[in-house]
């Protein structure tokens, strides 16, 4: 067996020698990428990991109500809360009130069962005065304490890991039986918003492809002097602030905007029938298509530039009309560019935030606006994290599907 191993002149195995020889080079290369690696880890991996972990862990309740948590652990699900449970609750409420953590405990339960916030805060104020038998005295304080759903929510919140934020993100509500159930239609928010986000992103991607394809083709086939001018026009938006571009659309398209005023002035539409192109889905689509167009054009252009004109000429000489040549010879060769541009635009669109926030109105906002709302206004970071994780999952799933259908190495970004 050892005879088959290749060896260097002095008898060391070739593979080991090779590894040692390239180890130095590899180590040096590692030092070169270390700053970037550190940067990525610190600014990207760690915060995202933090955020994702928040979507399944929220210890606002479990950390501040230790005795009740212990009772939940000792008694399996379905056990009626007994005297010991109420005693633990009373002790924990007293403690939490003293340590001023009762607010976060209340908020945590309120996430799962809305309207329970004041139940906790007022109980916190009165807890010190509670006396045995605790079951009666607690329920006497507020009959809601006897309701199974409150206990189900507390049991749910006492676990180390929780799915309640994902359940909420999927429009499922905690029921009295302690399980999550589909919320009634009028309470469904997020799934609809996810659907709208994906649909709008798909529309934007499609429009970008429709508008960008001819431009990219023109860029790739014009002589150098003209194509560089066109390229500057394509890149010009990149050099203008996103806010400026978005607000220009508002100036242009709102009901009292330039477009509508002109059309009314020319008598093409009447004053009452002004087009509603802003603060709705149309506004979001128009502004986002404009902003994301370069991300479609550039990958398409870089692919089209490498397609020699002789392919289309060959097809024509073989008897194909220009349409057949375009459809059967040209387009298939631009698939890597279509894929790259499409994925890029779609992923950017799915996470788009500022533009829909400014021009989307009520019907044109996306899931990212809802995430931002939970981050900044409602401060329910766990729900924001769950929504973001689902968005991330959707994008990754899309990426995976693309890989299966087209192949990632078929993608050409530049």
């Amino acid at each position: 067996m050892s005879d088959t191993i290749l060896r260097t002149a002095d008898g060391k195995p070739l593979k080991a020698a090779l590894q040692r020889a390239s180890a130095v080079a590899r180590r040096r290369a590692f030092w070169l990428v270390l700053p970037l690696l550190a940067f990525v880890v610190i600014t990207f991996v760690v915060p995202i990991g933090q955020m994702l972990s928040r979507s399944v862990t929220n210890d606002a309740f479990s950390a501040n109500m230790p005795q009740l948590v212990a009772w939940f652990e000792a008694n399996p699900e379905g056990t009626e809360p007994d005297e010991a449970a109420f005693a633990a609750l009373a002790a924990d409420l007293t403690n939490a009130a003293a340590e001023r953590t009762i607010g976060s405990v209340a908020t945590r339960i309120n996430y799962d069962v809305s309207g329970t916030r004041s139940l906790f805060t007022s109980a916190g104020r009165k807890a010190k005065k509670l006396e045995a038998p605790f079951k009666e005295s607690v329920v006497a304080m507020d009959p809601k304490w006897g309701e199974p759903i409150v206990w189900a929510a507390m049991r749910n919140a006492s676990a180390k890991l929780t799915t309640s934020f994902y359940q909420a993100a999927m429009d499922r509500k905690l029921s009295a039986k302690g399980v999550f159930e589909k919320a009634p239609g009028d309470l469904q928010v997020y799934l609809k918003l996810f659907g709208r986000t994906l649909a709008l992103s798909a529309v934007v991607t499609f429009l970008c492809l429709l508008l960008g394809y001819p431009v990219a083709h023109l860029l790739a086939s014009l002589p150098m002097s003209k194509s560089s001018l066109l390229m500057i026009l394509v890149l010009l938006p990149f050099w203008t602030s996103l806010l400026v571009r978005t607000t220009s659309w508002m100036v242009l398209l709102q009901e009292q905007g330039i477009l509508n005023n002109t059309l009314v002035g020319l008598g093409i539409i009447s004053d009452e029938n002004r087009f509603a192109l802003m603060y709705n889905q149309a506004g979001t689509i128009i502004a986002m298509t404009h902003i994301l167009l370069p991300f479609m054009i550039l990958p398409l252009y870089s692919v089209m530039k490498t397609i020699p004109v002789s392919y289309t000429r060959a097809a024509r000489s073989l008897g194909a009309t220009s349409w057949t040549t375009f459809r059967r010879i040209y387009v298939p060769q631009t698939v890597p560019g279509i894929g790259a541009g499409g994925i890029l635009v779609f992923i950017l669109a799915v996470g788009y935030y500022i533009t829909p926030a400014l021009v989307g109105g009520a019907t044109g906002t996306l899931i990212s606006n809802q995430i931002a709302f939970h981050m900044q206004d409602s401060l329910n970071w766990s729900l924001a994290a769950a929504l973001a994780a689902m968005l991330l999952g959707a994008v990754l799933a899309l990426y995976w599907v693309y890989d299966r259908l087209v192949g990632i190495d078929n993608m050409k970004l530049g």
Partner: protein, 366 residues
């Protein structure tokens, strides 16, 4: 073969001019007429307008002036896909996203042929170029020579009467190139197709063609069968471009119908055949092929002119010896001698006498 009678001509260029930028003419006054079944090669240095001519014929460029006729019909207004011309490109232009069979199927599909007919024709075309077992491969999985064959098969599969080839063998190594030269001529002959072939390799042009059009600067310098081109070049560009050639410069001192006397720049007088010199006092370049120069006095015919020469360099090439001489002020005078048992290997510095027949010595334009 060299019928230039326009009535039975298949392809005709009639006073065709082409300019890309409106400032310079890339093709100047091109007149050419080809009978059916001819193998015509356009030969010329880079940038002389060969590809441009081919593109005008194929319909990818329009002539700025003049008319191109195909089978008697002007084609200026026929779009490329209706011309029915097969074309082989220099980089083969096989569609990378299709298999070999799909590549060949494409021209048949756009002509609306049935599947069974297509399969039959594809098989025949692939067998013709000995690529029968490669139908399921992609172009990227073939070697250069194999791709070349497929490109040829694709240009022929829809049975065009005219096939254009733009330097189709440019990327192949010497052996494969020679083999493919043979294959292409054989196929063209067997199928009876008319071929316009572009190359800047003169051996390729000479060995393959019925006629060769030598291009320079957008003008056909000479259009003739290979032997005539080599042995009777019409001007000094053709003499220089085709094969190896020695030139001596001088002035015409005497001229009659088929004979002239040229006074070389070092004062020596030689006899030559006037080709495109017309009057006494005109400057001329006298051209002699290296293999027509004789240095063995015994073999010189009576009346042959002799000149003194000094050997500068002796190059052993196996089958022949190539000797560089200094003759009448020209240090680049080459002679070739066969490696015969009695051949002398000349040492540099040796003084010898060389000679040739006056009819092998052509007085051309300066």
């Amino acid at each position: 073969m060299a019928g230039s009678n326009t009535s039975d001509a298949f392809v005709v260029f009639d006073r065709v001019q082409k300019s890309y930028d409106g400032e310079t003419l890339v093709v100047k006054d091109l007149n050419l007429s080809m009978p059916k079944g001819e193998f015509l090669t356009m030969l010329g240095p880079s940038g002389s307008g060969k590809t441009t001519c081919l593109m005008m014929l194929a319909g990818f460029e329009t002539a700025t002036h003049g008319e191109i006729l195909l089978d008697g019909r002007p084609i200026n207004n026929i779009p490329p896909h209706k011309r029915g011309i097969g074309m082989v490109f220099q980089n083969y232009a096989l569609f990378p996203h299709m298999t070999i069979a799909e590549n060949l199927s494409f021209p048949l599909e756009v002509r609306g042929m049935d599947k069974s007919v297509r399969e039959e024709k594809i098989k025949r075309a692939l067998d013709m170029v000995q690529m029968g077992q490669f139908g399921n491969r992609r172009p990227a999985q073939l070697s250069g020579g194999q791709q070349q064959r497929v490109a040829l098969a694709r240009a022929l599969v829809f049975e065009p009467e005219l096939v254009l080839m733009d330097e189709p063998l440019g990327a192949l190594d010497k052996q494969l190139r020679e083999h493919m030269q043979f294959e292409i001529t054989r196929l063209a002959h067997d199928l009876g197709i008319t071929v316009v072939y572009v190359t800047h390799d003169q051996t390729e042009a000479l060995t393959m063609s019925d006629r060769v059009a030598v291009f320079n600067d957008g003008v056909i310098q000479q259009l003739a069968p290979p032997a005539e081109l080599y042995e009777a070049p019409k001007n000094s560009f053709v003499a220089q471009f085709i094969g190896e050639n020695n030139t001596l410069e001088g002035v015409v001192t005497e001229i009659s119908n088929d004979k002239c006397v040229v006074k070389l720049d070092d004062g020596e007088l030689i006899d030559a055949r006037p080709v495109n010199v017309t009057k006494v006092g005109e400057r001329t370049r006298v051209s002699i092929r290296p293999e027509r120069v004789e240095m063995n006095k015994a073999r010189l015919q009576p009346g042959a002119h002799t000149l003194k020469a000094t050997v500068c360099e002796f190059i052993y090439m196996g089958d022949i010896f190539r000797t560089r001489l200094s003759v009448a002020g020209n240090d680049d005078f080459i002679i070739k001698t066969r490696n015969a048992p009695d051949a002398v290997r000349l040492q540099p510095g040796t003084e010898i006498e060389i000679g040739w027949l006056p009819q092998d010595c052509r007085a051309l334009d300066a």
